[in-house]
């Protein structure tokens, strides 16, 4: 074990989180299912004799969560890990050490969030004591609350939340709902027909057509799914995002302030936009207070309202810690309240955690020497 890995392991052992291990060879399904097919070209896949697709462990959060579900361990519970992960890269190493802490089942979200970020920060201070680092923080829950408070219909909210964290996707989505493209003639005809009908009538019609075309009405999208979305789409088609709301969203997404000033900035934004922000921003404020109690300097943390991760299991806090001049984060973390349910947990289990790239930390240590 390298000096760095030993130092990190010692740090984790003192953080009240049970050390876990996971097999290097993992079933690939959960990773592809959660992160999507794009992951396929970035991981190392192989197959068992029985045809099961396996991969070299590409990250730790999913194995830790799967292990937690399988062991039916009680919550709240904190896990720590330190071990290799494997990623395909065009240049450079393909095997890295990652270490981190996953905090599962803690229902006091603000305090668990703060503890995760404080742990991550303390880890960096331990292994890079002489370097100044930059912390960036984002919060999807605040974005979702803004969308709801602006009164956007559900279909638009879902689309925007999905794009949150990807500037290109988000601006494309905003563009689309601000200037809806004219739809095809066929769709317009269908639109006029369906506008006269209710969901059940349409579904019955679709069921008949599916059966005569040879599609199983139960194998995939059901007639009810299609009818439901058809009506929702028809109701959105005549709408466009009003200019005032679009402007408000753009202003919100451009908010970049220190965490010390972030809560005030969010309330000020709300007043300016004529909307009331409460639950998510209150949670945001409580988390900031908890971070201060952990000894973090809020003035040195940057809040970026547009910062997020476009994966459907991230739900709230996201953060990154980088060296002041570094492009790639040394640590990434966030809240993933939907992940354990997606992985098969019977009851919802909230989760928050972070992961450190030890190779990048090692490089940053070399650079400092």
């Amino acid at each position: 074990m390298s000096a760095l890995a030993a130092q990190v392991a010692a740090f984790l052992a003192a953080r009240d989180a049970g050390a876990v291990d996971a097999a290097i060879l993992q079933p690939a399904e959960p990773f592809l299912d959660m992160a999507g097919e794009d992951l396929r070209r970035r991981i190392f896949l192989t197959e068992s004799e029985t045809g099961e697709t396996l991969c070299l462990r590409p990250e730790w959060t999913i194995p830790v969560c799967l292990d937690h579900i399988a062991s039916q361990a009680g919550t709240p519970r904190r896990y720590s890990y330190c071990g290799e992960v494997f990623r395909q890269q065009r240049a450079g190493a393909v095997e890295f050490l990652q270490a981190g802490i996953e905090d599962l089942g803690e229902t006091d979200t603000a305090s668990a969030d703060a503890r995760s970020l404080a742990d991550a920060h303390a880890l960096v201070q331990t292994v890079l004591p002489d370097q100044s680092v930059a912390i960036t923080l984002g919060d999807q829950a605040v974005f979702e609350e803004v969308l709801t408070a602006l009164g956007l219909p559900r279909g638009w909210r879902r689309r925007l939340v999905r794009a949150f964290g990807s500037p290109d996707q988000l601006s494309a989505a905003l563009e689309d709902i601000a200037n809806p493209v004219k739809r095809g003639i066929l769709a317009e005809e269908a639109g006029e027909q369906i506008a006269q009908s209710d969901e059940e009538t349409i579904a019955t019609l679709l069921r008949g057509e599916m059966e005569s075309a040879g599609f199983s009405p139960s194998a995939g999208r059901t007639p009810e799914d299609i009818a439901h979305r058809l009506l929702e789409k028809a109701s959105l088609a005549s709408l466009r995002l009003p200019a005032a709301e679009l402007r408000a969203l753009r202003i919100f997404l451009s908010v970049k302030v220190s965490l010390e000033r972030a809560t005030d900035a969010l309330y000020a934004f709300g007043r300016g936009a004529g909307i009331t922000l409460d639950g998510a921003v209150e949670g945001f404020a409580r988390r900031s207070d908890a971070l201060r109690e952990h000894g973090l300097t809020l003035a040195e943390i940057r809040y970026d309202a547009a910062f997020g991760r476009p994966l459907d299991y991230y739900t709230g806090l996201v953060f990154e810690i980088a060296t002041a001049d570094g492009e790639r984060p040394l640590i990434g973390g966030g809240r993933y309240d939907r992940l354990l349910t997606l992985l098969g947990a019977a009851d919802p289990i909230p989760g928050v955690g972070f992961s450190a790239w030890l190779d990048r930390i090692e490089a940053a240590r070399g650079g400092a020497a």
């Binding site: 592809l32 299912d33 992160a35 999507g36 097919e37 794009d38 396929r40 070209r41 279909g155 879902r158 689309r159 999905r162 794009a163 990807s166 290109d168 996707q169 494309a172 689309d176 739809r183 095809g184 769709a187 269908a190 369906i194 679709l206 057509e209 599916m210 075309a213 040879g214 599609f215 199983s216 194998a219 995939g220 999208r221 799914d225 299609i226 979305r229 058809l230 789409k233 476009p310 994966l311 459907d312 997606l342």
Partner: protein
Amino acid sequence: MTVRLAIPSKGRLRDEVLERLEAANLRVELPEDDRSYRARIAGLDGVEVSFLSASEIARELGAGRVDLGVTGEDLLRETWADAETRVPILSRLGFGRADVVVAVPEIWLDVETMADLDDVAAEFRQRHGRRLTIATKYWRLTQQFFSGSHGIQVYRIVESLGATEGAPTAGSADLIVDITTTGATLRANHLKILSDGVILRSEACLAVFASERSEVDDALIREIVERLNESVSAEA
């Protein structure tokens, strides 16, 4: 020193390639033994012609085991992530045209665009306990198009090596990415192409394995490309 040129060994594509080469004054002298897979070009010494399947050509070309190859652009891009630099296209031959497209069941009246599909894919897991599945033999093109160009992350690909267009009715996938010339097979299977669902407009191409070569070989390749391009533009 030889330039190794691979051309399709079977079917209409082989015939069209041979015709095109002949029209470009690059007649392939077929071997006496028609089971043989090697030939030469009349009046052009230093070119060794081999006959391979179109997908093998894409693979062999990218691995540098042949210098030049005629095959579909879809196969080049599907086989190599870095196709543009590894196996650059020197000449587009104007036949073997086909589109790689995203097609969904016609009955999905609410889905016309990739944005619709994004919406459907996001909702699907909640309602059905699995991700939306796409049957295709084009793993790479599908990933690039869905994840790269359209930011759709949550879907699964199921490999399909034949009769892909039948997958949705067979219940083995929800939609497909496939190659089509007229769209007739898709329509016969009650599938429709999304309005922004054309991933690639493919055609037969002459491509080269990018590498350092002797002057003689470089000149030979230039000569072949020139003759081909002249004949293509004469026809156009």
